[in-house]
Amino acid sequence: MTQKTELTGTVPEAPLTVPSPVQQEDSRLKAFFQKGTPYWFVSPYIIIFGVFGIFPIFFMIFLSFHTWNPVAGLASMRFVGWENYTLSLTDPTLWHTLWNTVVIALLSGLSQHLVALPMAYLLVSLGHRARHWLTTAYFLPYVTSTVAVSMIFYIMYAPESGIINRALVTLANGQITGFLFGWINDLMPIRWLQENSLIRYSISFVVFWKYVGFNIVIYAAGLTTINKELYEAAKIDGASSWQRFRFVALPLLKPFIFFAVTLTIIGNMNLFDEPYVLTRGLQQAATNGMTISNYLYRIGWEWLDMGGAAAVSWILFVVIGIFTGIYFWLFGREGLGGND
């Protein structure tokens, strides 16, 4: 109430706008606009999300029961019933690419979080300046283009001339290190990206390298929210450094871990760029290097079978849903409960 009287008090000082007759005639229209104003504000979202978000979902359901060659135009669409689903579900390549996706997601995802957590803990224990500079360095890969860094890794992984193999050879032939690493010579040249048995690990490392800094930043931010006095109290009670990490920091970090892992699951299940570049556009070692997103691209845009691709995307959607569902069911209550 007091606010209102104050506001009306300021009105006479403000320049008065005299309503013209035309404006008065339009008052009904104006009233409509005033009532509709909030909708005008959110209309960009409604329109664009409607076109690129809502409509696609329904269209995808429709499309997955049809065959459609996009090059031949919309007229080439033909109803086929469940055929796309039965074909996809009995397609061994689909299951294999799904398995690849899960393996790469687990390898890169687990290592990311297992490294990021202790790293963040170490960073927070350092001074402010050191922390700032180190975080800036670790975060850099996240900013840069996935395609560009994958291209650089593609060169670094080269069997004969790549820096990784050359470093390993140097290590194996070194006077001191040779004793420990001499056995590497027998494996040379290691064909990181050409060998089907290695490609998953090679891809996982690039994914790990690119996203570990992001998780470090999230965990460091989470750790700084923890009251320092808690550590002090634990220290006085005789808790070791490890115990302070395990029993003070870790439980309080739960909501952050939960969120970061959710992002990793969703991101990794959708992995496209890194395997696409590292398998040279799905040309080499694609048996084990192709993720389900890559396969979907191949079905839709290389084989021009959009209906089949639509069915695959629904299968992918259900799989991601199941994974996140299991994850939420296992950890959700704890992860979200830690919020308060």
Binding site: T8, A14, Q34, Y45, P56, Y142, W209, G300, F317
Partner: protein, 285 residues
């Protein structure tokens, strides 16, 4: 034994050793993070022969200009950079407008369907992008926007994280009294938003601009399916394509890759703090 442990010299020795190990570990991490970028830059100065020779090269070579000419021969490099800039800049500008408009609307007005809209936004964040790729492609084809830059940035101008961010900023930094005063002075709803609220949202807009620019610059999947003619392609696409050339001139490719990363690294050098907080804002909030 206990006497030894209580000896302060001994303890200090342990702590110095521990700190050395700790720093060695942290700096090794920095090295592994930065190395690929340096390596890419280094290889940009090498010719194909010196790169594949058995001698172990760890120094710069003198082939930079040869590689540059080679780069221009294998792809329209600067056109690709220009296209990437165009897509990222226009997309960012439009998304700043859209996200702040919607975020402001959600923060200031109470209206029917607001909660529903919120729920939809949260759900849409969970939706895997690959799921909508096919209908996206189809809609773009139907609208006749295939092979245009508009199609590449348009779907991303309503980033839900950006909308939430702008809503948050409006609640935090735009006083309701000010809006009320503007209304009583006869300013229209849009005018109030444009001249009163928007200037106050500047810090939020800067953060959002960084997020959007980085995303649009690095985006690969949507251009890959939409842009088909070489003149329209963005830089990430052009770089990926040269993998298919027989006897790829890797020195030239590494030069192109390094230069394509540089704009973002330059922004990162200046505004690393803002970039980090912006890109993790969805997670930390």
């Amino acid at each position: 034994m206990f006497a030894l442990l209580e000896n302060t010299h001994y303890q200090r020795g342990i702590s110095i050793a521990a700190r050395t190990v700790l720093w060695a570990f942290l700096l090794l991490g920095v090295f592994l993070t930065i190395f690929p970028f340096l390596w890419g830059g280094l290889l940009a100065t090498h010719s194909r022969t010196s790169m594949f020779s058995s001698a172990f090269v760890l120094s710069f070579s003198d082939q930079l200009f040869v590689n540059y000419e080679e780069l221009l021969r294998i792809m329209p490099f600067w056109l690709g950079m220009f296209n990437s800039f165009k897509v990222a800049l226009i997309g960012t500008a439009v998304s700043l407008f859209c996200c702040s408009l919607v975020g402001y609307g959600l923060a200031v007005y109470k209206f029917r369907g607001r909660t529903t809209l919120f729920t939809i936004m949260v759900c849409s964040m969970m939706m895997p992008p690959i799921l909508t790729l096919i209908p996206y492609y189809m809609i773009v084809s139907t609208l006749g926007l295939r092979d245009t830059h508009l199609a590449v940035w348009l779907p991303f101008v309503i980033n839900p994280i950006g909308i939430f961010l702008m809503r948050q900023y409006t609640v935090a930094s735009v006083p309701k009294d000010l809006l009320e005063a503007a209304r009583l002075d006869g300013a229209s709803a849009f005018r109030t938003f444009w001249s009163i609220a928007l200037p106050l949202l500047r810090p939020g807009l800067a953060t959002l601009a960084i997020v959007q620019f980085v995303f649009l610059w690095n985006n690969f999947l949507q251009p890959l399916v939409i842009l088909t003619s070489t003149e329209q392609m963005v830089i990430t696409q052009l770089l990926r394509r040269v993998q298919g050339i027989p006897n790829t001139p890797w020195g030239a490719v590494m030069l192109g890759t390094t230069v394509s990363i540089l704009p973002l690294i330059a922004i990162y050098m200046v505004a690393s703090k803002q970039m980090i907080s912006g890109l993790t804002s969805g997670a930390v909030k």
